[in-house]
């Protein structure tokens, strides 16, 4: 239990960030029109591709003889990139079609 308390104390800034981000996420999304649900989901999907940064860190600090870390890290970076690039491109394609109509 004490360890848990220490963990809380040492990471309290991050815990604040988490709580505030939760409220922010809720605020940002409410009042979105139904037509934009799909692009929004797709855009949010691309944003959580930020996990790729973790994959880069794993890979960048793995010692060259740690084959497990290098191999898994490589896969993780590829998958993360797919998430980011694919996500943003798909979202852009969807939104492109909405834009065309307005002319």
């Amino acid at each position: 239990m004490e360890e848990l308390f220490n963990f809380f104390i040492t990471n309290k800034e991050f815990i604040y960030v988490i709580i505030l981000s939760i409220f922010l996420g809720v605020e940002v999304i409410s009042n979105v029109p139904a037509i934009l649900h799909t692009p929004l989901m797709s855009g949010a999907n691309a944003i959580h591709g930020v996990v790729i940064i973790g994959a880069i860190i794993v890979m960048g600090h793995a010692s060259p003889d740690n084959i497990l870390a290098i191999g898994l890290g490589f896969v993780a970076v590829v998958l993360g990139t797919l998430n980011v690039v694919g996500g943003f491109v798909v979202t852009n394609r969807m939104l492109e079609m909405f834009k065309k109509k307005k002319k």
């Binding site: 009042n31 934009l36 799909t38 959580h48 930020v50 790729i52 880069i56 600090h61 980011v84 979202t91």
Partner: protein, 463 residues
């Protein structure tokens, strides 16, 4: 100095995600919002590669491999995203979501195996990250397979029960791993991986098609949380804010979708949707449907004053959005007032129909939402239901025993005539019988939606 650049880049990245999401929720700014978030992401990634240092002060190594991986991912991701048809969009989102989940799970595995630390905080984050990431990955893959028609539903209440037990088991396993790490030792990470993957598969397996968008949105927010846990692991601000933002925004989006269907979230996940089938479907044996010929249907529409088209997933699978637009234009030329009535959850994702029809160049003002269109129904001469089923099922309003009772529907049964285009008499994706088909004013027009609409267009041309 380099640390300063890194942190400033992360700050910019976080702000761009927040503004990007905000802008994505308004039609005029949506596209810019997406590009802004993408730019923020690119800066955060590049800054990590060039300026990140670990606790020992070492910069990022293995650069060749990293660039190779990013290059490979970019090319493949770009090709996939450009090639996919608009109708297959939900699957694609689900697929990319799964990739992110897998990425988060791998990070947890590597961190756990290369830093044998037994601190409670570290263990909680690593285990949860692995579990959520794996569930999100395997669940998204099943969702992808189901939407793509590669995997069929497997509904059984026993399976749902088993799933709930399995989930408790996983949580118990995590608890054991945290409070007595030596009991199982290092293999726990692999056991956890396997059971989480299995849970992800079984979790999505029994969920019916009508609930698929909810599941994808939910898995999307799962991956967000998994990414945020990764951020905790590295004390990385941009991962934390980006992940949590998606986690909470995704959850709200999920709730909004559930509200559109008037069903609480827990019943989608833990409840049994297909359970009431037998009772609801029992009566359609003796009833007979009336069909209509293409010619008659064309005449009926051409001499109507007001026609409303209700598109559903059938339109999407048949790739009929362009033909449908042709049909609507032909009618328009004949002086008929044509609108589209879009149910919020028509298709496989909320807004899916709007995207499809936008692709076919249907003008914005013709797309009416359910609330606008329902009051007009009594003065509408003909309603054409193209491959939609559950969203026009009157049982949602008048049969309390129906599983979809309470879901708002497009009240097509109030219109003067209803033409239902369907491939067969099969039940909708939710597996519920539809009394609309047996009403006096309803006529069925069987066949592939694109085919039938094409025939209607050529009939109209001859008139």
């Amino acid at each position: 100095m380099s640390n300063f650049i890194l942190e400033i880049s992360y700050l910019f990245g976080s702000i761009s995600f927040i503004l990007g999401l905000k802008m994505l929720s308004h039609p005029e700014t949506a596209r810019k919002g997406n590009l802004l978030a993408a730019a923020g992401m690119a800066i955060a990634i590049l800054a990590t590669i060039f300026f990140h240092k670990n606790e020992a002060g070492q910069p990022i190594g293995n650069l060749i491999w990293i660039f190779a991986a990013i290059g490979l991912g970019t090319v493949v991701g770009y090709m996939m995203a450009m090639k996919v048809k608009m109708t297959a969009m939900p699957q694609m989102v689900s697929l990319f979501n799964g990739m992110g989940g897998a990425c988060a799970a791998i990070i947890s595995i590597v961190e756990y195996t290369s830093h044998p630390s037994h601190e409670v905080g570290f263990l909680i984050i690593a285990f949860l990250g692995l579990m959520i990431g794996s569930v999100s990955f395997s669940g998204s893959m099943v969702a992808y397979g189901k939407l793509d028609g590669k995997i069929n539903d497997w509904r059984s209440n026993a399976l749902r029960m088993f799933n709930n037990v399995l989930l408790l088991g996983i949580l118990a396993l995590i608890a054991v791993g945290i409070w007595s790490p030596d009991m199982i030792g290092e293999p726990i990470i692999w056991i956890l991986l396997v059971v989480s993957l299995i849970y992800g598969v079984l979790f999505v397996m029994p969920i019916g098609g009508a609930d698929m968008p909810v599941v994808i949105s939910l898995l999307n927010s799962f991956t967000g949380v998994a990414a945020a846990l990764g951020g905790f692991l590295y004390s990385n601000a941009v991962m934390l804010t980006g992940g949590i933002l998606v986690g909470s925004a995704g959850t709200i989006l999920t709730v909004l979708m559930c509200q559109a269907m008037n069903r609480p979230l827990w019943s989608v996940i833990f409840g049994s949707f297909g359970g009431g089938d037998a009772a609801a479907g029992g009566e359609d044996g003796e009833q007979v449907v009336k069909t209509i010929s293409v010619t008659d249907a064309a005449i009926l529409c051409a001499y109507a004053k007001r026609v409303a088209i209700v598109p559903g997933y059938g339109l999407a699978v048949a790739q009929a959005q362009h033909t449908c637009h042709d049909f609507e234009r032909m009618l328009g030329e004949k002086g008929v007032e044509v609108t589209y009535a879009i149910h919020p959850v028509a298709g496989r994702m909320p807004g899916h129909m709007n995207v499809l029809l936008a692709e076919a160049d249907v003008p914005y003002p013709k797309l009416l939402e359910m609330e606008e269109v329902n009051p007009q129904m009594p003065s509408t001469d003909v309603v054409i239901v193209v491959g939609a089923n559950d969203v026009v099922n009157p049982a949602a309003e008048n049969d309390p025993s129906s599983p979809i009772y309470g879901m708002p529907i497009i009240q097509v049964d109030k219109a003067r005539n209803v033409i239902v285009m369907k491939r067969s008499m099969g039940k909708g994706y939710a597996g519920i019988a539809n009394s609309l088909f047996f009403k006096d004013k309803t006529r069925m027009l069987f066949g592939d939606a694109k085919d039938t609409l094409g025939k209607l267009v050529s009939e109209l041309k001859q008139m």
